[in-house]
């Protein structure tokens, strides 16, 4: 530590010029003489910078890129012209076709998206608290919600960029290789698929941020998040099956209407799982031929023209799924907000 005189040179000059203890109001002005960036923007910028340089993100990026390339390769080698060449929709086919050796990309994403969300968010708050950076940060003149929101928004910006680039790369590559023109409806469907994927990752991100607020140790929150994910991807179906077998009557003795009712009930139960919501929604968005997510009766099918649905109709079918995912994300974020805003910050 050197002579403090150096410190006063310039740094306190404004205060010094008044040559007496400054009144509170005067000091206020000296701090804000020009309009600086908002604290929120500064935190987001820093978070994104940290994120893209971190090993964790590079690993996740490599994982997603590999999955993407593998599933595209499988689908490209298996695409065959359909019955109606004018309704072929090549680019949607690239995303959904598979020969069974590998799940298609959108099915892959239903569990990779969860890993991505959990991986980016599980230590968002508690690692900063453990390292003692959180208390320093919150001792600065920023609002707490700015910090929490930045922790949520920054990874979202990064993954939106990531998926948009992947999607555009696929379209561009497809155009170059096949020379098939892309249709407007395909662009709409692919972009809505990307946004849906971002929403799905956002759900897992906000869940893992919530856990990182709740638990002091990053490992605890990571394990809990992975536990929840495993429960929904593996055990939840088993549990639902068990309940169905135990409580629902044998379908052999039921009327067709009742079977329909019970089938819908089972589907609704399965849709508590966010992975199921995502899989349903992407299936409808990427396969225009899919007309409904539940069973249809013969009466409903009667008179239906076997054409692909329009984009608007597909969106209408998946609207409940979208709302469900959005609601779950909001609930998790609201909970983390509730826990974080009034809690004591200590290192």
């Amino acid at each position: 530590m050197e002579n403090p005189a150096i410190y006063f040179k310039g740094l306190f000059s404004r205060v010094l010029r008044t040559s007496e203890p400054v009144a509170a109001g005067v000091h206020e002005k000296t701090v804000h003489y020009s309009k600086p960036a908002s604290p929120f923007a500064i935190i987001v910028k820093k978070e994104i910078g940290d994120l893209v340089r971190s090993w964790r993100f590079i690993v996740l990026l490599a994982l997603i890129a590999l999955t993407f390339l593998a599933s595209i390769y499988v689908s490209l080698t298996n695409i065959k012209p359909g019955a109606e060449p004018e309704r072929f929709l090549l680019y949607l086919k690239i995303l959904t076709t598979t020969d069974g050796s590998l799940p298609s990309f959108h099915i892959f994403m239903s569990f990779l998206g969860a890993i991505l969300g959990i991986g980016l968010g599980f230590d968002a708050v508690n690692s900063e608290q453990q390292n003692g950076t959180l208390i320093r940060l919150l001792a600065q003149p920023i609002y707490r919600d700015n910090f929490l929101l930045a922790k949520f928004i920054s990874p979202l910006i990064v993954i939106t960029t990531l998926f948009l680039s992947l999607g555009l790369l696929m379209i561009g590559g497809g155009l170059l290789i096949t020379g098939v023109m892309i249709e407007l409806v395909e662009i709409l469907r692919i972009i809505s698929f990307i946004l849906l994927t971002v929403l799905y990752v956002a759900f897992w991100l906000s869940l893992s941020i919530m856990l990182s607020v709740k638990f002091k140790q990053a490992t605890t929150s990571a394990l809990t998040a992975i536990g929840i994910w495993l429960f929904f991807t593996i055990f939840y179906k088993i549990v639902v099956n068990m309940i169905v077998k135990a409580f629902l009557p044998d379908p052999a003795f039921l009327l067709q209407e009742d079977i329909l009712y019970y089938n819908n009930l089972i589907l609704d139960l399965l849709r508590v799982s966010p992975g199921q919501l995502y899989a349903d929604a992407t299936t409808v968005l990427l396969m225009p031929a899919v007309r409904s997510l539940g069973p249809l009766t013969m009466e409903q099918m009667a008179g239906a023209i076997p054409t692909p649905l329009s984009f608007r109709e597909s969106v209408l079918i998946v609207w409940p799924q979208l709302s469900g995912l959005f609601a779950a994300t909001t609930v998790c974020f609201a909970l983390s907000y509730y826990w974080f805003m009034r809690r004591e910050i200590r290192s």
Binding site: F8, G10, Q140, P141, S347
Partner: protein, 338 residues
């Protein structure tokens, strides 16, 4: 006190049934250096967190620079530089970037932010290490970086929680001198918490002794010492050449002297506890009985004794640093004995 910068009124913080801070009243004026002294777990950090709105008081109010810290923490944090105990930096960023980040959050314009950060790094003596990753910094360097970060926002109030932890003695001296200079020249109010008495003694205008959430004493150091000295009995140690032939008769005679409370014989010396101002009469007594006196030591009261006095009854974790004087004395006597 007129227009106190920091004013705590009836501040209370409960953790379940535990009272971390108990009905605390305190005001600190502009330009003052106030030392909050207390053992670990006394509630110092909790009080500081409440001043910054980082935790909510169970009762009472905190006003800093005219703003209520609980309802308007951002206004308070604009004026207060806070250096926490055990702070951390973003290890992946270099030290300068860490500082620049904080400077930006404090609304320092983008055009000046780098220059100012560099200036401050020089000032705290880190100019050669500013491009190193913060993760490679030693504890003392982090402390300096922390100080730079506190100063970059040009605070009116600086709150330092255990600022001297982990710095070597030379560094502590520099650090505290710097803080004192800043406070004097810029009328910056400084509140520092510590359990290192002797360090606080050097710089503080006033100290508050804080034990189990209560402020037991709150005054200028000199006044606190005299207060304790007059209230306490004085300890006088008389050493003799060769083992003194002290018998029960002598001790009894001493005990009968007006004001003497205890007499303890240990090897070549005798320790007499009694009312202040009795030292000449002890010497006269020993001379009259024909003992060879080689030394008389009258114990002076400093803040450490004040501190100890308040800590005696508290069975909390004893801080070896605070008790160093005692240990020294004990070993000293052992040396004579052998």
């Amino acid at each position: 006190m007129e227009n106190p910068v920091i004013e705590l009124i009836g501040l209370t913080k409960l953790y379940g049934s535990l009272k971390a801070v108990d009905n605390l009243d305190l005001s600190i004026g502009r330009g003052e250096i106030y030392g909050l002294l207390g053992p670990n777990g006394a509630g110092k950090t909790t009080t500081i967190l409440m001043m910054l709105g980082l935790t909510e008081p169970s009762a009472g109010s905190v006003t800093v620079c005219g703003f209520n810290a609980t309802s308007n923490p951002v206004a308070v944090k604009r004026k207060v530089g806070y250096m926490p105990d055990n702070m951390g930096f973003y290890d992946g960023l270099n030290a300068l970037d860490n500082l620049v980040y904080i400077a930006r959050l404090n609304g320092i314009p983008e055009s000046k932010v780098r220059d100012r950060a560099r200036e401050l790094m020089e000032m705290v003596g880190l100019e050669n290490a500013m491009h190193k990753k913060a993760g490679t910094y030693s504890r003392g360097m982090k402390q300096r970086l922390g100080l730079a970060e506190v100063l970059i926002k040009q605070p009116e109030v600086i709150i330092l929680d255990e600022p001297t932890n982990g710095i070597d003695p030379g560094g502590v001296k520099e650090f505290l001198t710097l803080i004192r200079q800043l406070s004097r020249q810029q009328h910056i109010t400084v509140l520092l918490s510590s359990h290192h008495l002797n360090q606080v003694q050097q710089v503080c205008d006033r100290v508050g002794i804080f034990v189990e959430g209560r402020l037991l004493a709150n005054d200028h150091i000199s006044r606190l010492s005299t207060e304790v000295a007059s209230r306490e009995s004085q300890v006088v140690t008389v050493s003799f050449g060769g083992a003194p032939q002290l018998s029960e008769v002598h001790t009894q005679a001493l005990m009968n002297t007006e004001g003497v409370k205890a007499v303890e014989l240990s090897g070549n010396s005798i320790e007499i506890t009694g009312a202040p101002g009795l030292t000449p009469s002890y010497v006269r007594f020993f001379v009259a009985h024909g003992f060879d006196i080689t030394g008389v030591h009258q114990k002076e009261y400093n803040l450490e004794d004040v501190y100890q006095r308040y800590f005696e009854n508290i069975s909390t974790e004893k801080e070896t640093n605070g008790k160093s004087g005692n240990i020294f004395q004990r070993s000293f006597f052992k040396g004579i004995k052998n």
